[in-house]
């Protein structure tokens, strides 16, 4: 195992990538909804920064547009929308408790190891300088799923879902230096519409069960199975 000593830009990308994983872990431990949304916004910011860095290294200018799109959507608009919804539904004082934070964190670590193992063959073949961050992006996706599984509040589920999308976008950026523009625009549009629909859903859920605790959505479970 010889250690690589790359120069500045790739190092910064590596640093930003590790900070993205770090924010995901912090989200796993976080109980307060507003802080969770702020962490998500920070993650979007880091993601936009990483995309811009990759754009500068590879000279791929349409990545700069993607970076701008990510910044606008994931760091500004969607957190703003979520924050507005949380305040409107008067949830900003509620806490979504994390049961067994230590267990969840350790499981998160094992997910990171697992994603490293899974992406090893892909990494070994790719010639891109940023290819070894595919593991980090897959880890981000799996950690987003862990966030969704370990919590009960609907808002946390949405943040977890968006984290998964962040991880996906990150993997596209680092492994292929960006998807074709058409696809990127389509994905961004989908994410935006999804977040709006989520917003609508919060009101529907709250109207039907008077709380956003998704565990209470269990009427369809007694029937069958």
């Amino acid at each position: 195992m010889d250690i690589v000593h790359p120069d500045h830009y790739p190092q910064l990308i590596t640093l930003l990538a590790s900070l993205i994983i770090f924010t995901t872990f912090m989200m796993l431990a976080q109980g307060k909804l507003l802080t969770l949304i702020n962490l998500f916004s920070l993650q979007g910011l880091l993601l936009a920064g990483t995309t811009a860095m990759v754009a500068l290294i590879t000279g791929n200018h349409h990545l700069l547009i993607s970076a701008g799109l990510t910044l606008a959507l994931k760091a500004i608009m969607i957190p703003w929308l979520l924050r507005y919804l949380v305040v409107r539904m008067r949830l900003h004082r509620e806490v979504d408790p994390v049961e067994n934070p230590v267990q969840i964190m350790l499981f998160g670590v094992s997910l990171v190891v697992f994603s490293y193992y899974v992406t090893l063959p892909v990494v070994q073949l790719s010639t891109l300088a940023t290819s070894n961050m595919l593991a980090v992006s897959l880890a981000g996706i799996l950690l987003g799923m862990l966030l969704m599984i370990s919590r009960k509040q609907a808002v946390t589920h949405v943040v977890g879902f968006m984290t998964i999308e962040n991880g996906l976008f990150f993997s596209a950026v680092v492994s292929t230096h960006g998807m074709p523009m058409v696809v990127e625009l389509g994905i961004a549009f989908d994410v935006l519409v999804a977040s709006v629909i989520f917003g609508v859903f919060f009101f529907q859920i709250r109207d039907s069960i008077d709380s956003l605790d998704v565990d209470k959505l269990n009427r369809l479970r007694e029937e069958t199975e």
Binding site: M179, Q204, L220
Partner: protein, 488 residues
Amino acid sequence: MIAVYLILLISFVGMVVLGILGNQSRASKINVWFNAATLVVSLILALVVLGKGPILSADKLFYIDAFNVYLIVLTALVGLTTSVFSGPYMENERLHGRLTDRRLQLYYSMYQGFMLAMFLVLTTNNMGLMWVAMEGATLATVLLVSLYRTPEAVEAAWKYFILCGVGIALALFGTILLFVAAEQLQGLGSDGLNWTVLFERAAELDPAVIKIAFVFLLVGYGTKIGLVPMHSWLPDAHSEGPTPMSAILSGLLLNDALYAVVRSKMIVDKSLGTDEAGILMMGFGMLSFLVAVLLLSRQQDIKRLFSYSSIEHMGMMTFAFGIGAPLATFAALLHMTVHSLTKSAIFVTVGHATQIAKTQQMEKIRGIVSTQPGVGWALVIGTLAIAGFPPFGVFVSEFLVLVATMKSYPWLTLPLLFGIGVAFAGLFGKLHPMVYGPAPKGQQAVEANMFPVYLHLVLVLWLGLAIPAALSGWFVQATQLISGGAPF
């Protein structure tokens, strides 16, 4: 080529127009007209493709060959007939106060939006755009599942959204990996996500990456097909949404997700050279099939019963596509068609039956035949058809699947036969008390347009007795594309 753009344009315009006019009483007729227009255009497109061969659009974004053109026609047809049924059905719902004008507006608009997404999935050449359209289809229907705003409906819609959203995120990862593999080849650039390009140069793609990509694609799109263990959204979404929704979900969305998986499999098979992808599909398919038939008999809600039947059939189709032999592929293609037609007909009929009985619980539905013979007999015939009774089309396709299995994997025919038998018993056991016998007091017939149902059932019967040469030519062409050999 204009036909493709026209289809997409018609659906898009329909979505916008119905978004504005959807709350008026003529909205359902407008919906029907838009669907009729897309059907006509799709038939023209089919004739063009059959005559000239596959067409690729100038910007390489759209590609029509024998495989997806018949699916396009099928989608347009089922969309049309379901919209014909949905008119009086939704009126009835509105009269009973279960829906408001605004929600109907959303319903009609999203109906066209869903059709747009379906057509986009089928016609696009770009795997990334295919994903975008799949996600779009989920988004269009998610608000429709919770249309009735009961707690159960909201729960079903939430489950649908989250499960399908997460599942499809995995499919996106698979798509990205496909692009990673493509970027290894020189000179591809942004063409690397085009199916035509990927298929052409599949042998040069790195097998290790493609393998991992396919797993993610199968699990991701498999969630939308309803493969076990990612299926739990399906029964809820089908039973809680309005009946036309269940019809088009079962009839169209599941098919399109399977289409996406098969397109990916075509690339993977050429790249790997072995049948690993097929074995994976067979595994998932068989698992879904068996789990669905075993859970079938425990259902108490009629729509959940038939949605488990959908899972069973989709499992069998996945299994058949997984076998990979030309005969199996032919059988699977035929099965896709007849299942789509039969299932949508059944859901339409079930919708009316539940309106008559005012409940979805099967133990409370009684005497449908005596109250409204049209609905009752349609239900009986539909169930016969879906259970695989000859001479309906489903019998033919299931028989072909069995023959193909016996040729390639003889010992797997046993679980298939077992499953078909159990499903048959389960469906009939539940059906019997519902249709025959005296009706409870005060049960009245409802206004129903049964024409679409009859049309579908006649088509399925026709396909069972004698597949017209044009259609079978279609299937053979598609089979050759997918599995590289002729079925007979």
